[in-house]
Symmetry: C3
Subunit: 151 residues, 3 copies
Amino acid sequence: MDTKLFENPIFRAYIFYGCLLTLKTIGMVFLIAKYRFKKQIFISPEDTKMFLVKENATVTYDDPDIERCRRAHLNDLENIPFFMFVSFFYVLTDPNPIIAINLFRIYTTVRFIYTFVYAVIVVPQPARSISWTIGFWITMYITISTAIHFW
Amino acid sequence: MDTKLFENPIFRAYIFYGCLLTLKTIGMVFLIAKYRFKKQIFISPEDTKMFLVKENATVTYDDPDIERCRRAHLNDLENIPFFMFVSFFYVLTDPNPIIAINLFRIYTTVRFIYTFVYAVIVVPQPARSISWTIGFWITMYITISTAIHFW
Amino acid sequence: MDTKLFENPIFRAYIFYGCLLTLKTIGMVFLIAKYRFKKQIFISPEDTKMFLVKENATVTYDDPDIERCRRAHLNDLENIPFFMFVSFFYVLTDPNPIIAINLFRIYTTVRFIYTFVYAVIVVPQPARSISWTIGFWITMYITISTAIHFW
């Protein structure tokens, strides 16, 4: 890519927040693993015979804490890759830098809040709904702006 | 990116259809929410104490309509991000524009059909199999062409 | 994109291994379909009335072989798209070619091993843990390097 794109603050912000979102999403595994080892509940039969796993280890798919983390993780997969995809092309539409960079910032913030209120400390609704909805409409705005630009 | 890529009709079509696929996939939530509110069946316990949710709201994971939509959504996640990834690099292999643009168009069409016959109005098989298979082989063709080009 | 990027061996390796990972992930369907037809266990009621499906076909979500393949597939979705996203921008940070190309090579290899030991022939743990962990830390390294570069 040419040097101009590299010096573009929108492009740099896009990559930086995309990396933060990636760390957050793949980091869900630490939260899930913490519960799995604490509760000795694993995902596959061979895991119960692993090093450091106790004899009472079981395989179940109905533990409320573990399934809650897995639902939060699945919601990330439903939303974040699509946000990152459309945002890349949104950067190429030469948007207003203040709007664009703040959209990336707000999106990243609400996705961190979403995970926190869903899977770390369960905060009553509508905490999760609001954080999800803000992220959803940011993605919608970015997608529609980009689609119109490249029509 | 340089101006030439921007004026490339294959690249523009790629972005446009990628945005349509993104809207379709993230839009699955409207279909699922419609059923959740109509049937008062939610995904997490705290949702049953939300504003606008009735007292008889429950949490179950076996409602046929809701699970059907979720399966259709999961199938999108299994296919569309990979299609969008390889198609980006396929554009860079300088393919025949008529073939490339029509592959994007057909792929987008069959994924909309897939969702429709799976989750909107249940059409007997092989409607879903055929729409899925066309999309699958388009992705295979694009991936293999691109892999050979960049070997 | 300019010609320089096209001739960049890191970029070419990135695309090539990304295509291999895409083929592997979307190819999971063959493994799952093999079990579905062999065991006559399908995902949706309309599938049991399909051409080539026997009369004793059922819909269940607890077959150990099928669910094992679906877990392996879901793990791909949790990891591979994020790896491919951050690796693209990692290529743009102008990394050491020997390190970068080998990271892509090792990542691809361990993801193939992961699928093999999880879903093709069940190898006792820690085979799956080790292959997953190597891939996870490669993604972490790439993501953190890239985030620091574009801060």
